[in-house]
Subunit: 154 residues, 2 copies
DNA sequence: TATTTATTGATAATGGTTTTCATTATTAAT
DNA sequence: ATTAATAATGAAAACCATTATCAATAAATA
């Protein structure tokens, strides 16, 4: 369920302030665009979408905002191997929570999956604990992707 | 144990021919460089290392060769988020087989780990089977990375 | 109000990777 | 062996996603 036009959920504002940032119009609109898609948009994709709502925005601001959002943990940044970064809201959209990706080497299609996530997460927890201890490495995040060919490409 | 100078294991030659490629001197030397390190080299790293042995080589050839090696499955290409691709022989070196990575967000250090690989691989097998069926997706490869802070950076 | 600070967008620069193209090496055919 | 076709190479130029610069504007603070 998208938030009402251009506002976003209330806690976002506090989150921004808490990190010493201002929740400006460009930033709100970028969040809105991300919250209303289930695709994995590039910076330019986002720029084009935002531009329709807020024509004054510049591509530079999109990049800068995305950097902030990633750093705040609101957005994930991915590399699927097509030469440009892709971004995804870390919460949602539409209650699609934490998930991993299937990446088609043929056509570049990205499939979100949440199947087996429970088993995966359980193992990840265990693995993280072991690795943290052995290497004294503080794990904050993980990346899991499967590569192969989608139904149309094999 | 590195192969003797500039030759590589015998089966490599056949592998190249089988894919319609010639095993030339630049390609051999690039393979040698990759086989004699446990680091995750960038194209330029490889270029510089190869250049000492084979000064006539160009960076272009390094890129082209790496593309071929990746496509043949002899080399893995990684993105650890530092803006350049990194390459690693898929076999070895020194009998370090299949492994995953810890990536330090602080200093960029990469740690290879094989711990828990057995459990992971077991789960991956199961997951792959399930995903292949549900999405009719033919999985050929997977990527697992943990991000966080190494001992020196936390 | 005056002053500081953060944000923005146009433009230019950066830098890893790809393309182009003429040359050379290798293979196949004669 | 000679010749003809094909593959591989390297220098240079082009590409293109991302970053840095900088002057202008908006917001927060004193
Ligand atoms: Mn996704
Ligand atoms: Mn490795
Ligand atoms: Zn596909
Ligand atoms: Zn570190």
């Amino acid at each position: 369920m998208p938030w009402r036009n251009g506002t976003g959920p209330p806690w976002i504002h506090g989150k921004f302030q808490g990190c010493g940032y201002r929740l400006t119009m460009p930033r709100q609109v970028i969040m809105d665009v991300l919250s209303q898609t289930s695709e994995h948009l590039s910076a330019e994709d986002i720029y084009l979408a935002v531009h329709k709502i807020y024509p004054a925005i510049g591509l530079t601001t999109v990049y800068r905002t995305l950097e902030i959002l990633v750093q705040m943990g609101l957005v994930f940044k991915f590399d699927f191997g097509d030469g440009r970064a892709r971004y995804e809201l870390s919460e949602g959209p539409k209650s699609i929570g934490h998930h991993h990706h299937l990446v088609c080497s043929g056509c570049g299609r990205i499939i979100d999956y949440t199947d087996f996530i429970d088993d995966e997460v359980e193992l990840l927890k265990k693995t993280e604990k072991g690795l943290s201890k052995k290497y004294n490495f503080k794990i904050t995040n993980h990346l899991i992707q499967f590569y192969g060919l989608c139904d149309k490409c094999q």
